[in-house]
Symmetry: C2
Subunit: 103 residues, 2 copies
Amino acid sequence: MVKGARGSRTGRPIMVLLDLLGRRWTLRIVWELREEPRRFRELQDTIGASPTVINSRLSELREAKLIELDPDSGYRLTAPGEELLRLMLPLHVWSEKWARNLA
Amino acid sequence: MVKGARGSRTGRPIMVLLDLLGRRWTLRIVWELREEPRRFRELQDTIGASPTVINSRLSELREAKLIELDPDSGYRLTAPGEELLRLMLPLHVWSEKWARNLA
DNA sequence: TCCCGGCGCTACAGAAATTGTAGTAACGGA
DNA sequence: TCCGTTACTACAATTTCTGTAGCGCCGGGA
């Protein structure tokens, strides 16, 4: 069970997922791993969050089997993690259009 | 400009978006509006968060033009909000498969 | 006119999460 | 042995969230 917190009280997978991804920096971390594995410190530097949270999020994502730590290359997406990322990729294009319509 | 906070310091739309959606309850709120408009109290009750945060998130989402308040029916997704939701919908199916592979 | 219920929303103290900084322990190479 | 790199932890200060109460507005009866 993936840290049954908050909205995930029901246990419905979509709620557990929204809960997990709705924590600060989680989406960002997955995003940063989209191209290649990253080291702990590398993530910390590019994201700009404290090591405490980074580590919490990495632990949660590992428990959720979305990422894993390869000692030789760093943190990387697992197969399910890659799948999730593919669902997220369209956000990139969409966000550009969205930003234009805000101004 | 959409509350330039945290990861959005760069101003890159994807970062602003990930920042916005990565706040507690934001994804959940968008999700709850997927089928029909919801009243403030209705959201508060089904989500189970305090009115303070609910209101903060609703304000941020309104500023981002992803939702709007229709006095007659309640909070609902705007056109861009609907677009974003369509990108999120596959998460539902995917989360089921993901949950099965965790057990 | 005077309630009453529903509406969005605010106040505020206590609890929890996050930050920022420092430091630990393990490992490998020179 | 010392040095750099690694993941990660400790902890006080700060920020955010929670839980509960209540405000002000409005429209519909009686």
